[in-house]
């Protein structure tokens, strides 16, 4: 499903070149549940961004679903992101002026799906995350856990094969954190490949496979 070969990612910070990723090799098959852990600045977010096609590696190759996606033009990248990858952020990133319903609807709108089809899919997505009664609430009327549920519904609305979560519980209390992780695991049980970055060792242990990133290199 995901094949990373000798991925390097360098950033230029002033005069210095920072090697955020230093020859990462990683292979994740479909349906896996993987946690990525590591100290701050170890490069785990950079790795996730590259997998999410938000960032491009300085060198190395990336195969997604059997296709080389290392060098694709912007429009195709956007389409691949939209159709294959769901991304969940630490800070939820909901659009404040839109309701929960409308936030979830965005990817469908971007994909140009007709309003009638959109309604059915958003309704069932809201149901899946247990927020049917909060559909018309704005993000600031929702609790942190509820906001992350909206974000998960949005990330999964296109039925992506891969779900990437960058510290999804980092901004939540431990109780809602567990609920969010359980919700993500449900999607994994339905066959979605799940990658979670976390600081929390106990959450990390729940994954079938743990990857530690230290100084831009992986150790299993």
């Amino acid at each position: 499903m995901i094949e990373l070969n000798n991925i390097h990612r360098d950033f230029q910070v002033g005069e210095q070149t920072v090697h955020a990723l230093n020859g990462i090799n990683l292979s994740i098959s479909a349906g896996e549940y993987v946690s990525i852990m590591g100290p701050s600045g170890s490069g785990k977010s950079t790795l996730l961004n590259i997998i999410a096609l938000l960032d491009q590696a300085t060198s190395g190759s990336y195969c997604l679903d059997g296709h080389d996606v290392t060098h694709l033009d912007e429009t195709i990248l956007a389409k691949t992101r939209r159709e294959k990858i769901g991304f969940i952020f630490q800070f939820f990133h909901l659009i404040p002026r839109l309701t929960a319903y409308e936030n979830i609807e965005i990817p469908l709108t971007l994909a140009g799906i007709a309003p009638k089809l959109r309604r059915d899919r958003v309704t069932s997505a809201l149901d899946a995350v247990g927020l049917t009664d909060r559909a018309s609430h704005k993000p600031d009327q929702l609790s942190g856990g509820q906001r992350q549920r909206v974000a998960i519904a949005r990330a999964t609305i296109m039925h992506p094969a891969i779900l990437l979560a960058d510290e999804p519980t980092g901004n939540l209390d431990s109780h809602s954190g567990i609920e969010i992780i359980e919700l993500l695991e449900q999607f994994n049980q339905q066959g979605v490949t799940l990658l979670v970055i976390t600081h929390d060792a106990s959450l990390g242990q729940r994954a079938h496979r743990n990857i530690r990133i230290i100084d831009g290199q992986s150790s299993t």
Binding site: N49, A52, L54, D55, E74, T75, A78, K79, T80, R81, R82, E83, F87, F89, F91, H93, I95, R97, L98, I106, P107, T109, L110, A111, G112, A114, R154, M158
Partner: protein, 401 residues
Amino acid sequence: MRIQDTFAQALTAVITQPLRTLLIIVAMSIGISSVSVLTALGESARSYVIHEFQALGTHLLIILPGRTETTGGQPPVFGETPRDLTLKDAEALMHSTHIAALAPVTVGSAPVSVHGLERETTIMGSSAALRRVRHLNMAMGQFLPDTAFDQPRPVCVIGQTIREELFSNSPVLGQWLRINDRRFQVIGVLASEGQSIGVGLDELVIIPVASAQTLFNNFSLFRILIESKSKASMYAAQNDIKRMITLRHDGEEDITIITQDSIVNTFDDILAALTLIVTCIAGISLLVAGILVMNVMLVSVTHRTTEIGLLKALGASQQQIIGLFLSEAALLSLAGGITGLIIGQLSLKLLQQVYPDFPLQLPLWALLAALSVAVITGLVFGILPAYKAARLDPIQALSKR
């Protein structure tokens, strides 16, 4: 992404930022309203002037003695003054089959007096045909009698101002007035032509051309006014006139012929150019509005960095982001344009109240042009912000909380 979804998204963004929306609409509406008011003023002035000239008669030809062009050859060392236009010339022209009516005109200034009241005014010597050629209307009495050109008669037709000043409210017809030392009987009064361009008809005294010639002791004509049989025969009439006058003037074509058309066209061109200039000046305010649109949109892009980053992470392509921001700019400037047109129309209504005589109206093409200019301005100045938004790096955009 479907086009209606793009606009729906843009619309929610417009509605949820009321201050920004208001700023852009105000700026854009000032630009559009000034453009539309000034265009309307220019257009109305143009149609007003053209209407006035067309009221003079559509197949009018005016013959002036002399010519502005030289005939070539040696410079006239001994000086060659053009031959006068005479009544004989006018009579000769009557033979042309393309001429429907012909009025010789002499003009001079002389004191006019009645019972000790006296004023200096313009005296026009002409014939019965003048009424037809210049489309004159009578308030009372009749116009000059249709007699031979060279036959003097002691009769006159006066304008409204002359009537008021010399006769006030007493009966006029049949009264005698004195021009210089000759007496003329008033046989008619012209209807008031408040807005006529050119000679002030209200302050005119018209007498038979032969009388005027003896009065001023001048036997050359000021002009000859001619109405051709139809618009089509104008050129034939013009050729006839040239040929006949050249024959009579020893082979020299020493007259100038002005057609109604050429006057109207000249004024049309001048006023159209004026309108264009005035509109361009007003267009500067549109430019200012456009720059404001750009500024406000740029601020909006900075303000919504996270949102743009998110949209990209969710799979929005650069084109889609550009589309979103451009449709926002288009919606905003369209709203501004419509507001501006409404303000413009209200100002025109107000002006119309103040100057009821002047026909004011914004032509439909100007209305549509103003709207499309507003939208185009918005789009042009929205390109930079939209492009900036599309080029945002999603990771950096999302790292901001």
